[in-house]
Symmetry: C2
Subunit: 399 residues, 2 copies
């Protein structure tokens, strides 16, 4: 089963992959440049932010996937290379070229992502000279790379999964970062899912999109969609194992989904200033779009987020948000609402719940809000976090 | 010209109107019940929240406007009477009936609004006995009523305007409250615009809707649309002055617009925990909907709100939000962005602005963000506020 990566664990990469990290000097002390390398040309798919203000690396990478000929993804942190004009594109290309040269491959075989402050030009004077050593240092675990892409994240986010398929076993490893400006629309801030399975680039794209829609696209820290969101899936076939049966395909897709949800929840739980992971599950809906919007709306509401921070079962705010997200009035009139498994509202009436008991349950660091609209079979889950003074502090003093 | 009401000013009501307030005992110490009365049957229009979870008073009032036969609007604070089921409707009707009885008019001549905590049943045992004295106390100024409808507001919000028309003068007085759960969609939390002008109920409705769309519907404190938003326009004709010419109509509409914008800005400036009023003006757009969404998006972004709270000219967050709101990439590439009148970004490039100078300008309590998309004649303004630890504090400890 899935092994969470943070802490003292070592997260092994799939066969034929290595990853490295280095401090190039853009940030103080912390690693700020990372790379994931496949020994052989790899299938790669990507999904990217729908923000109209796309960073240079997003535009560069988006033009190159899906592909069956990718060798590496290089990523820098500290500078987003967004809103940097032509100079931004030039410097992005310089970084990619330097990586390709050190790897001995062509520019078209290297993908790229950036994260950090918007509007600063890439400090290529520091980044370029560090690339040869970055590549030399690459090794078979994920933690160093995961640390290099962190910004306001408190913990590196990795997970890995060994999967038995009909003709052998494959490994899937995921790495991500999040923390602020998290309201992904087609992709998270940065996510990397890599495997040694042998699949086509078309399947890689469908598989990634399916997983992202139910995971990274359903989390929100602050409702601000980033200029730099990217999520990649690389599969290099180094295990020699293919998806031969329908069961293999389902197993692999399920594993990618689970990995993505695990990473997405890690991002929500480590949202800027967050002390609680909030899971909102809507069941019994008759409309997928409304269910999605409603589940996400609850995770977005600053009033609900602050109430949960204060361990306050102020369910009226949840009802108000569902109505604001256009859950139909007749469904609101019959729905039930549970907090931490305790039903507190149903059929248009608050239930006689024991307030102190629910308050005590809200002290836990995992909050479950369950809403049954009693109108159909559609269900949708979204994840978010509470809103604390710490969030305000972090973002008041950021740039 | 317009005289702001708060503070020591006395805001006079138009002819034939009176207003009153009382503490019924629902809230401690503070007045919690108010009424606006017209001596004669008055034209009344209303716009209401689009939230699907509508409070009982919203459903009651919405069914009765526009009308030319309204005598009063009664309003309680502390209890929203939302998500209260059939009991909520019954108790709302009891409150309206008691007011109608004391006024000697029919139930259909009384409108009603509520504001406060969602999900608590109206404390009619306290409210009903207080109504006769509430009505006895009614007098010709607006401040007492404005105080009675406040929740987390720090200042009462009133304004009045004497208007010279072709056949005489009329007065327009506005009263509102806001503070939290402010992201109006068709109406603000609570707004009352009353005049002694003589107009039809149809014109009253159009006039109110026009004003609300450019004022209350363009403010946001926290992006949470309330269950109780209502905005009313009452015009009782007591001045005997009609709108006789096109110029009269324009003058009157402009005055209602200005009053509404003044009150809307007062709500944004007094947003929960706010220390700054933020005005976002978009010019040069070619699409009204995108301009609206973009202007509002900037006022909504917690990252921009916290940066402004920290007096940090972090313009990248503004650009990111414009892109997230789907301002087209080609417009982002040529647009200019000014903070406090200083141009800091244009043609895809940050300008060499003096950071310390802009930081100093951001210490002011009125923040102006101006965005020129250089693509058309459409302009749109939205108002919001900064996001502080105080907001988190207020809403962590609310219910």
């Amino acid at each position: 089963m899935m092994t969470p990566g943070p802490g003292l664990n070592r997260t092994l990469l799939p066969k034929g992959f290595s990853a490295g990290a280095i401090n190039s000097g853009v940030r103080r002390y912390r690693p700020d440049l990372g790379i994931i390398i496949s020994d052989v040309p790899s299938v790669a798919a990507g999904v990217f932010t729908l923000n109209q203000c796309k960073a240079a690396p997003v535009i560069f990478s988006q033009a190159r996937v899906p592909s069956d000929n990718i060798r590496a993804i290089i990523t820098n942190s500290g500078q987003a290379n967004a809103a940097t004009g032509d100079t931004g594109f030039e410097r992005n290309l310089m970084m990619v070229s330097a990586a390709a040269k050190s790897l001995g491959c062509s520019i078209d075989q290297v993908l790229v992502a950036s994260t950090g402050v918007i509007g600063h030009q890439l400090d290529t004077d520091k980044i370029l000279p560090a690339i040869p050593e970055l590549i030399e240092r690459a090794h078979e675990t994920a933690e160093a790379f995961a640390s290099a892409i962190m910004t306001t994240d408190l913990v590196p986010k990795t997970a890995t999964n060994e999967l038995q398929l009909s003709s052998g076993s494959v490994r899937i490893t995921g790495i991500s970062k999040g923390s602020g400006m998290i309201h992904p629309n087609m992709a998270t801030m940065l996510g990397y899912i890599i495997s040694d399975v042998k699949i086509s680039k078309d399947f890689a794209h469908i598989c990634l999109k399916t997983a992202v829609d139910m995971s990274f696209n359903m989390i929100s820290v602050d409702g601000d969609s980033s200029t730099n969101d990217c999520c990649f899936l690389m599969a290099n076939g180094a295990s020699g194992v293919e998806l031969k049966t329908e069961e293999d395909i389902l197993k692999f897709q399920t594993a990618v989904n689970e990995l993505s949800i695990f990473l997405a929840k890690s991002i929500a739980a480590d949202g800027e200033g967050a002390s609680k992971l909030v899971e909102v599950e809507i069941i019994g809906s008759d409309d997928k779009e409304i269910a999605k919007r409603a589940a996400r709306g609850v995770t977005l509401s600053p009033l609900i987020k602050t109430a949960l921070h204060g361990e306050d079962p102020n369910w009226g705010r949840i009802l108000a948000r569902l109505g604001a997200e256009q859950v139909p009035a007749d469904q609101l009139a019959k729905m039930s609402l549970s907090l931490q498994g305790v039903k507190i509202f149903e059929n248009g009436q608050p239930l006689a719940f024991v307030r102190d008991e629910v308050k005590a349950l809200l002290k836990q660091s995992n909050i479950f809000i369950k809403i049954d609209l009693k109108s159909g079979d559609v269900r949708q889950t979204a994840w978010g976090c509470d809103l604390s003074k710490k969030y305000v502090e972090i973002n008041t003093e950021y740039s």
